[in-house]
Symmetry: C2
Subunit: 190 residues, 2 copies
């Protein structure tokens, strides 16, 4: 399974792709950042983010896209740009029929480091270790995008094993949707 993680943003939109399956070593496919100039207008910036993500989807051909779920925070202006960049990533993936998953920052941190309150350095260090990289990916947005993709693969595995266990015991899974198709639901680690 190949997953593209997107850490949305207008100034820097982190993109990171990994390949693998739960329980086996993961491999990094690509990592990078799409940047847009802060003095461009919002229309030009969103079009540039869209073009960048489209190029990645063309080249990477992921099976699923994992985008960070955006919450309203203190810095209102920043969070709006983040939400709008996330919308562009979601539309790009959904237009191609790719499953889109939204993971909260806590879910990603918990999945990758075991601690939902881990800091950026801890997340970056674990991503570097899990993907057996020579150095921590920079900037942090790029490492965060890889963490999202790792989280997606691993959480998918957990969800799959849960569904299999429930199927074996004759019960049904608690939700008709898998994690990979659960963009509206709340996360367990929120």
């Amino acid at each position: 399974m190949r997953v593209l993680g997107v850490d949305p943003g207008l100034t820097r939109c982190g993109l990171g792709a990994v390949e693998g399956r739960p329980g086996a070593p993961l491999r990094m496919v690509a990592v990078g950042v799409v940047r847009t100039p802060s003095d461009d207008d919002i229309g030009a910036r969103l079009v540039a983010v869209e073009a960048g993500i489209e190029r990645w989807l063309d080249e990477i051909r992921p099976d699923a896209v994992a985008v960070e779920r955006v919450f309203a925070q203190h810095n209102v202006r920043t969070v709006m740009g983040t939400a709008q960049a996330a919308a562009v990533a979601i539309v790009c993936a959904a237009r191609r029929g790719l499953p889109v998953a939204l993971h909260t920052p806590s879910e990603v941190k918990a999945a990758v480091t075991g601690n939902g309150n881990a800091d950026k350095k801890q997340v970056g260090a674990m991503v570097t270790r899990v993907l057996r990289l020579d150095a921590m990916p920079r900037p942090a947005d790029a490492a965060d995008a890889l963490a999202l993709a790792v989280c997606h693969v691993w959480r998918g595995g957990v969800q799959q094993r849960l569904a299999q266990a429930l199927a074996a015991s004759g019960s049904r899974a608690p939700s008709g949707r898998t994690v990979a198709r659960r963009p509206d639901g709340g996360g367990s680690a929120r």
Copy 2:
């Protein structure tokens, strides 16, 4: 000048187009709403909003698109959907090279009714009167989209006269951008 106003939303995205110029009667070209089912996932909803707006742009062929500027509000989940629908509208317009303007709710209310704190009924009544309609457009999202388009035409006129007056007096306009291309700047009526 033909302007498409967009009152962004996932459940109901209001769309309203007007034609005219400042100082002359305005004409309504079209009004309507794009709806998406609340139990669809966010990807499907944003793709449906995009398809709806693309259809409108194909048919209406506006010279500019005016989108309501979204702020973080109390209902976090709703405002995120609104911001994401706005992003889709902005991308659709900017991809075609159309000027995109963001107007705050206060700017729209002030332009249309003379009162930045007007309620929805007052805005709807003024839109009905200004466009000489037989009845108030419904739902409110549709009336709000028309109000955005009216606001855009009228504010454009004010900005143009200001620029002309400054040019005549040998000064430069306070900003290199016109209102119609001012998506990042703050509004005066915030």
